[in-house]
Subunit: 334 residues, 2 copies
DNA sequence: CCGGTTGCTGCAACCGGTTGCAACCACCGG
DNA sequence: CCGGTGGTTGCAACCGGTTGCAGCAACCGG
């Protein structure tokens, strides 16, 4: 392992000059700089990150705390963070909480001592726990608001309200919302947004679930919906759920969109599907990750906590159509 | 920020003793140790990771290099790595290469200087590039074999061969394999495994694709297959693809499994689906991640490169059945 | 010709831990 | 009573960089 001292010696300068030639090029004479750089290159010198971090106090690492990484909603956010960071030569220190409050707090504590900033994605910890880190280092939340902490909000509540409004506009008067299980902050916001929008549009809302974000859950719920003859439109809170509903309704002989309109309050491209031609949201998850990094940088030095709202966009596809009286139950296709 | 020196002073011992009390408890008298620990706890002392790394040379970080994290195949592997590491109090330094050779190499280089080990997941770099890191630190590959480098192999080639054999056993004589696009090491192995198994079982193989792991790709291919009357079974290389095929065949009025048997050479639980009741593989991705960590630890100090083979398991579901002559084309359901 | 800038470089301290070595103190057996 | 032994502790060097400050030479205007 070649150190700065080695380079300095080989270049005939002091450690200090070598350091400056590499880190503060403008503080050193041009010819000296050239010489040091050349020597460093031929010797294959690389900075020792630990040593550097020790003196500067900056590690070049950002901690990312996420409930799960095998989740088509969170993964793109992390990707966005990574992309924004790599532009600055920084890296992600990843921790997965598995949705547990205690491990979230514990992991955050461990990370806090070795990173320059912390990104909490959809944290489940109480406000106080999250705020407790802000005195140690810059913190930003994603998909959650904590007083006095900067945060990125992905406006899925607004998006799901758009969907309800869209369906109401197509004449649907009884729609079902299949909601998610997580007692998370964001899930609650979405639920109330749906209720609010339904009330405002004067449509009848049947809340189903909660169920997991699983295809099989969709299959199960589909049977239920097929039997519930008054409902003419269904909104699923997640992509996988939607796929299950899609398959399940089809198996039950219910046609989409002729008999029932189907929409997802989620981004289908996250599950690699541009064209099951379904009405859904465009949710710029990667941009949310990028925005989180931007807020983090702004928060250093600390200033007033900023909020960034990421808007979703309603993509109307062929799975929603004008409401009709549902045809009498056909024979299941299978 | 409270340092070791602070603790030592408050406890009335030297830095050395304080250090030992915390890191090498057996080297210090019981009562001294108690005192130091108590003081450290009340003062809220935490080790400075950088300082520690500087002297010990170990950072407690493992670099994980992955083509993409928003991918139901890779994500669980990373989760496995994380789980195995957290048992040892280590963390993941994550880097996403986006499948590019150059950025893979570059990222690996950056990571190499700050981690204790490197996990290459499905690397696309040439053997030599990967091996070049082994002199600097322990390296392990997943889903790829590089001479003299320890690796974890997930035996999806064996699994897809099992599927072909299974179909042959059901009397299928003409099956289609819809293969993936990536010119990756593992994709090639799978392709040849399919061909080999088909030849051995004496079935006629139609290779379709390559297509992306996307639902819409499945929809497109489904039309093609619906028209190809001789084929009685289809194997999809990825879960999303399978879902697309499933939806697409159904839309084309082809019944599964009465008209066509359908199977995935992938793990459907990775996409949150236990029960589209489809014949597929159980692929223990998380275990692969855990195994990677084990190999990494074994590789320190360096010894003979070990290989771990992770077996897949064929899960026969209701989507495959005995081959029949396909019914004449029914009217598409939609 | 002189004092004052300006620009570049080196000395040495410092970041916060770890660890080899020596000092010290019982306490032991001879 | 003495040298030896084992268990504890402290001193100080060290890991590999960064940086405040001082030294030094060249160059400036007066």
């Amino acid at each position: 392992m070649v150190t700065l001292a080695d380079v300095a010696r080989a270049a005939g300068v002091s450690k200090a000059t070598a350091s400056r030639a590499l880190s503060r090029p403008d503080m050193v004479a041009a010819d000296t700089r050239e010489r040091v750089l050349a020597v460093a290159a031929t010797m294959g010198f690389e900075f020792n990150a630990s040593a550097r971090a020790l003196t500067t106090g900056r590690t070049g690492l950002i901690g990312v705390l996420v409930p799960s990484i095998a989740n088509p909603y969170f993964a793109p956010i992390v990707t966005g963070v990574q992309r924004a960071l790599s532009a600055h030569g920084e890296n992600i220190l990843l921790a997965v909480s598995e949705g547990s409050q205690s491990s979230e707090h514990e992991l955050a504590g461990k990370l806090a001592s070795r990173v320059d900033g912390l990104v909490f994605i959809a944290p489940v910890s109480p406000d106080s726990a999250i705020r407790s880190f802000t005195s140690k280092l810059p913190v930003v939340t994603v998909d959650r608001t904590v007083p006095a902490v900067p945060g990125v909000l992905i406006d899925t509540p607004g998006g799901v309200a758009d969907i309800v409004t869209h369906l109401a506009g197509l004449g649907h008067r009884a729609i079902a919302y299949v909601g998610g299980p997580d007692g998370s902050w964001m899930a609650e916001r979405r639920n109330s947004a749906v209720e609010e929008a339904a009330r405002r549009s004067g449509v009848d809302l049947t809340a189903l679930g909660p169920v997991g974000p699983r295809i099989d859950a969709g299959l199960a719920v589909a049977e239920h919906i097929a039997a519930e003859r008054s409902v003419t439109a269904v909104v699923a809170y997640s992509s996988y759920l939607l796929l299950g509903l899609h398959l399940g309704l089809r198996e039950a002989g219910v046609r989409v969109p002729e008999d029932i309109s189907l929409a997802a309050s989620d981004d289908l491209t996250a599950i690699s599907a541009d064209r099951p031609d379904t009405t859904a949201l465009r949710v710029p998850l990667e941009e949310a990750g990028i925005a989180a990094v931007r807020l983090l940088q702004e928060a250093n030095p600390p200033k007033r906590a900023r909020r960034l709202r990421i808007a979703t966009e309603l993509i109307v596809g062929g799975s929603t159509a004008h409401a009709t009286v549902r045809a009498s139950s056909t024979t299941p296709a299978r």
